[in-house]
Symmetry: C2
Subunit: 369 residues, 2 copies
């Protein structure tokens, strides 16, 4: 068997597939690429059993083969070559021989029998979305996924189809984000939970190009250009997040986003490491933000101008969570909607575009004093 391929083209292909190769695994076979030559295509696949990536490129080859090759070694070799033609040949001693103008590289390959089958996703549900829009939805929400395995559903991002639009929801119990893409409407309410690993790989694969998504009950497939990206879904029920979103938070405070964000950054230097508490003392058109680190005997307070309609109020937050939320408001001005110091606070951009809706929710912390 032999075929030729340009190093730059192969490098690009392999760079798309390598994210599915696990760095540490009890199954060494997963550290390989599956290489298949069939019907004039070289198809390369990898999987860590949770996600799988597949892509292919035209090659002219006479024979068909199916072998597995050490993924990182091959990728690093191809990447380290300049722009050159590579001749691939299989040798009788289970070596894959790469020949370039100046060099010869032999890499051991194995037979593909042990390589796990990548499950085909039944195309029960198809949607088409712009890559840029999907990327925006993910970038707005993924930070809020839970890092704790206690409730597996919350470690992923919810894709919820509805008549209102496609809702992307992430929460860890302390904060929640709901981003709605109103262009993708569905008569039936349906929920799919995509694991964190898949979200993070997907975010890097997305371009401006259109994406086709297929959902089955257990798996999801994304088709992005030449790339097929599969992931298992989290087979749990997502928490009834709607019940924690307050309907009437009548006290509204409007602020410049970058002003409050830069204040929060300074307060994080003064809040006690364990509690990370920051206090908002709100009066008409004036917000005082303060923090105190009792262990180190330091404290700070700042005044920020705001527009406030409501009762004077003192409310505590975790600096890290306020910071995360404010970093994702994506608008010059931000609105805090409050009810009381013990009830969830809604954070929203002052303006949002026609086809989207962003709601951020922040749980307060009990003030020390």
């Amino acid at each position: 068997m032999e075929f030729k391929v340009n190093s730059r083209i192969l490098e690009k292909l392999l760079s798309h597939i390598i994210p599915a190769v696990p760095t540490r695994t009890p199954m060494p076979i997963l550290e390989n690429f599956l290489f298949e030559i069939k019907e004039g295509y070289l198809k390369v696949s990898a999987t860590d059993l949770e996600i799988a990536l597949i892509s292919s490129v035209n090659v002219s080859a006479e024979e068909e083969i199916k072998i597995v090759i050490p993924a990182r070694l091959l990728y690093e070799v191809v990447r380290s070559l300049g722009d050159t033609q590579i001749l691939f040949e299989t040798e009788p001693n289970s070596k894959l021989k790469l020949t370039t103008e100046n060099g010869i590289y032999n890499i051991g390959f194995s037979s593909p029998e042990e390589f796990p089958a990548i499950p085909a996703v039944t195309k029960e549900k198809e949607i088409i979305i712009s890559g840029a829009e999907l990327k925006k939805a993910i970038d707005q929400t993924s930070f809020a996924m839970s890092k704790e395995d206690m409730r597996p559903s919350m470690t992923g991002t919810l894709f919820e189809f509805s008549e209102e639009g496609l809702r992307f929801v992430a929460t860890d119990g302390h904060r929640l984000v709901r981003y709605i893409n109103k262009k993708i409407k569905n008569h039936k309410e349906e929920q799919y939970i995509i694991p964190e690993k898949a979200i993070s790989v997907l975010s890097k694969l997305l371009t401006e190009d259109e994406v086709k998504i297929y959902f089955s009950k257990t798996n999801v497939s994304f088709y992005i250009g030449d790339i097929e990206f599969n992931s298992r879904l989290i087979g749990e029920k997502y928490p009834a997040y709607n019940s924690v979103i307050p309907l009437e938070n009548e006290n509204e405070m409007k602020l410049k986003t970058n002003e409050i964000l830069s204040t929060i950054k300074r307060m994080s230097l003064f809040s006690t490491t364990s509690s990370k508490q920051v206090k908002f003392t709100i009066e008409k058109n004036n917000l005082e933000v303060s923090a105190e680190d009792i262990d180190r005997g330091s404290n700070a307070k700042e005044k920020i101008e705001c527009m406030y309609k409501g009762e004077p109020m003192s409310i505590g937050f975790n600096t890290a969570y306020v910071h995360d939320i404010l970093s994702h408001v994506n608008n010059e001005e931000v609105i805090f909607k409050l009810h009381s110091p013990t009830k969830a606070c809604i954070v929203e951009p002052a303006k949002s575009s026609e086809n989207e809706d962003l709601l951020l929710l922040l749980m307060p912390v009990r003030l020390n004093n």
Copy 2:
């Protein structure tokens, strides 16, 4: 006590001093800046007992003070403020109060008694060198310092004064670099060994500006603009490195530096992890570089054009060391001077400028076969 200072000016000053603040230390007092107001100057110092940094800025203050302040907290606060005036006031409860237009920040300070005295360097020997030239000398040599504490002198960089020039030498026993700045001549041979930490901090402080250096028997001081940088010297004898530099390596091979460097990068993927061995097989005008990873069953070889005057030879090197050496040749073409497969190999740039001399030395490794 009170004084005013601009946040950007203070940030710049503190950024120069913070490298001397240790990140982990059994002496918490070292995690502070020493702040002194005296004769219209604010002088800020820090030390980890091995190195010390001192700088000052004009301020108008009526009283003199001397206090110690948590270094990282103060630096982070000042850095996080925009361009603004900061009013500093000491409060009776051992708090330093910073006031800006919108905020008030209180940081606990302590008395300076426990803060270690920074030794003044007796100005026994003074030299003046351009910052750019000193930086070049350090960048050319520092990579070869030993990481192992077995022989303390080799963990630093040797500054050796001589009639030929100022020699900078670093070695870990596997490779050696000697860089000579021929502009700085001295009648007497003198040796000073600067520790690794000081070299690394110095490299970041250097600019185009002139540097004044003072040596005493135990310490060295660098004056760079407003900054005074002190370090202890390593009080050991430097190994007699001249005895390992071969005088007659009669076989000479000239190569394009980037070609051999990129070949070595690929070979490092194929050399056995434990030995990192790469083999050079040299014949007239032809170099074959090869490596084999027996554990993984992979191997590689490449041919490179060269100009070779000498006997055909096979010689082994450690890929990591060849790579380091070639990365510091600093010339389009490189010359390998060889004697035999068991003797030290000299690596030199094909051309070097009038006022400098660079010699790199590489110990071969015994070939497997």
